[in-house]
């Protein structure tokens, strides 16, 4: 009876605490909303500056052909203005074309090699590179045509309907994993340090209650919250952004329970280390922030340097987020995510053990 009533009271306290609710629901709502609305799925546009003072008719045709390429947005200007625009970051690449880039088919003189100068924006190297590749292809094709060589290859592109995994499908499960982490770490770290500082834990010790009962009630409350939180956030994604849950809900909840356990261990460890509530955010953020940004929550880790990817793979959030994403967005089953589950179990054991050693309910026995 004691544990049941304690759990109910703890749940009431959790729900009435605005700070916990912020980490649990409000912040993930905002993240999903903002990143969902930015919509990284829209085709990317590459801003290309084209400089050609007085292009010949054929060169102008070539420039028009460039303009027909859908990813290009063509800006015309002088070498000086376009270079300035590039420096400002408004261009990804600038092509400087000689006026008679294209040979005039009516002239019979032997064609000369023309040089196109490309200025690329290093800060947007990926886009610049794409622009250069397309330019090269276009020029090659023209060369072949001019040489009247036969076409040897033809690429036939067919569209096939696939399970469409959009950015938002990638994002939502990651945000769920992240917010379960935030909830578990912060709600425990803040609340228990506060109880310790205010002498509430001492007051509890003056009753015949076993400390384990109190901790059990706190843990059970958080596990319940994690389940409800996951459900609400996934539902939010489905209703507002038309995301899908392809995998089994049961597996999702099991994953979330394991993830929450792992981070509850971390939360208790932090409140074991922190002497005052003021120290909690400092300690917690050192641990939580790197994981938040490096564990592939917002962007795939493949865009990070290899060594960093390696490190991050072993931090607790990454296997959790990856497994959750694979189940939610990919419909993976238990066997497909077992390596991640193994890592999570390992972390859960390590963090809970750490919590047992650092967290003291009772006063140090002097």
């Amino acid at each position: 009876m004691t544990t049941r009533i304690l759990t109910v009271s703890t749940l009431k306290m959790f729900v009435r605490n605005k700070q916990s609710l912020f980490f649990t629901l409000f912040m993930p709502f905002i993240f999903i909303g903002i990143f969902g609305l930015i919509g990284f799925d829209k085709p990317q546009v590459i801003d290309v500056g084209v400089v050609a003072q007085a292009p010949s008719a054929m060169t102008q045709t070539f420039i028009d052909a460039l303009g027909k390429i859908s990813v290009f947005k063509i800006h015309r200007g002088t070498a000086a203005t376009e270079k300035a625009a590039l420096q400002k970051g408004d261009r990804d690449a600038v092509f400087i074309l000689p006026n008679d880039l294209m040979p005039n088919p009516t002239t019979t003189s032997a064609p000369v090699t023309q040089t196109v100068t490309v200025l690329q924006n290093i800060a947007r190297a990926q886009q610049a590179q794409t622009a250069i590749t397309i330019l090269n292809q276009l020029l090659d094709k023209t060369t072949l045509q001019a040489a009247q060589a036969p076409t040897l290859f033809n690429v036939d592109i067919q569209s096939v309907n696939a399970k469409s995994v959009k950015y938002i499908d990638f994002l939502v499960p990651g945000i769920v994993a992240m917010s379960v982490m935030q909830m578990a770490v912060f709600s425990v770290a803040f609340v228990f340090t506060d109880y310790k500082e205010k002498g509430i834990l001492k007051r509890l010790l003056a009753t015949p209650m076993k400390p384990q009962q109190f901790v059990a009630a706190q843990v059970m409350t958080r596990l319940l919250v994690a389940i409800v939180q996951t459900f609400i956030l996934l539902l939010f994604g489905m209703l507002i952004f038309h995301t899908h849950v392809y995998g089994s809900w049961l597996l999702i909840f099991l994953l979330v329970l394991l993830g929450a356990l792992m981070f509850l261990g971390l939360g208790f460890t932090i409140s074991g280390i922190a002497k005052t509530v003021d120290a909690v955010p400092a300690i917690a953020n050192i641990v939580v922030f790197p994981m938040m940004f490096l564990s592939g929550i917002f962007f795939p880790t493949s865009s990070m340097p290899a060594w960093l990817q390696k490190i991050v793979t072993y931090l607790p959030l990454q296997p959790f987020a990856t497994a959750l994403r694979n189940v939610v967005a990919n419909g993976d089953g238990f066997m497909a995510i077992r390596t991640n589950l193994l890592w999570m179990t390992g972390w859960a054991i390590v963090l809970i053990t750490l919590a047992v050693f650092t967290f003291r309910f009772e006063e140090k026995r002097v």
Partner: protein, 306 residues
């Protein structure tokens, strides 16, 4: 004494080099209100928390209701009620929910409203702790200490920091609990509080108990007796006053007379008769009984509060 509910024997608490409680021995009788009076840092809280099973004892023993606190902590905790010197309660719970939650910690269902009514917090049942005044917080703290219908209630400086009105209010409440036959152990550094509330008082200083007795007997230790002070309309024969029965000493300054008397009941009528015969009118008479403050001063050479 056979009716002792608590027996404290040679209790000691050592923090490294520092001895916070240095071998105290005393008994608390069934149903009495037992005070521990002493200045800040005397070791009152440490003594009490060892009795409550909250702090480990360095040596010595506490037997409460026949059970050793060191060996049977949980049984002892279930029959005592505790108000800590500095403790707050959960936020985000109403007082009613809070009292019920604490009941659950004792494995008991409690009538929270009834308890809150007893401490006059009924109309605050739906409020949260942060909305309470200092006095109300202390009353809540007492209500929570009573959830398990304890045999012994420990109150650690329950009125420190309260205004006089709230303090008197709390004294009344403690009086009601006492009337029910609950044994109360209370610490304080207000001698007036100890005098009003306690059946017996242990005076503690520098980790030791330096005196233990009923307030009346303790007051006898301050052997100066009462001070009587009055105004007169014309000079009076001071030597004659000194010779009166019950008067130990007399002096006069301006139009004010100061007398010392161990038996004011004898001295006062004699003084009035003497003045009447001399044709002197007595005005503004005040009498100051010795206080525990004087006792403490006498025992230690220091004032209780500095």
């Amino acid at each position: 004494m056979t009716d002792a509910i608590i027996k404290v024997t040679d209790l000691k608490k050592v923090y490294g080099e520092f001895t916070a409680v240095d071998g105290v021995t005393f008994e608390v009788r069934q149903g009495e209100t037992f005070g521990i009076l002493g200045p800040n840092g005397a070791g009152k809280t440490t003594t009490m928390e060892m009795m409550e099973g909250l702090k480990m004892m360095s040596s010595g023993s506490v037997i409460l209701d026949g059970k050793s606190v060191a060996k049977h902590v949980r049984e002892v905790k279930s029959i005592i009620g505790v108000q800590l010197q500095a403790s707050s309660f959960f936020d985000y719970l109403s007082l009613k929910e809070l009292v019920e939650t604490f009941g659950a910690l004792y494995g008991q269902k409690v009538d929270a409203m009834e308890l809150l009514r007893e401490v006059q917090l009924e109309e605050k049942a739906k409020s949260q702790v942060k909305e309470l005044s200092g006095g109300q917080k202390q009353r809540l703290s007492i209500a929570v200490a009573l959830v398990n219908k304890p045999k012994v209630v420990f109150l650690d400086e329950p009125t420190t920091g309260l205004d006089p009105q709230a303090r008197r209010n709390l004294w009344d409440l403690i009086g009601i609990i006492k009337k029910r036959g609950v044994t109360i152990v209370i610490t304080t550094h207000y001698m007036e509080e100890a005098e009003v509330l306690c059946d017996r008082i242990a005076i503690m200083d520098h980790a030791k108990i330096i005196a233990l007795d009923t307030p009346l007997n303790l007051l006898k230790l301050a052997d100066g007796g009462a001070t009587i002070e009055f105004h007169i309309n014309k000079p009076i024969d001071v030597a004659g006053l000194k010779g009166l029965p019950g008067v130990d000493d007399a002096k006069s300054e301006d139009h004010v007379v100061f007398l010392k008397s161990k038996v004011p009941a004898l001295a006062l009528p004699a003084v009035f008769t003497f003045a009447q015969q001399a044709g002197v009118t007595i005005q503004n008479l005040q009498m100051q009984q010795p206080t525990l403050e004087d006792v403490f001063l006498k025992l230690t050479g220091r004032r209780l509060r500095e």
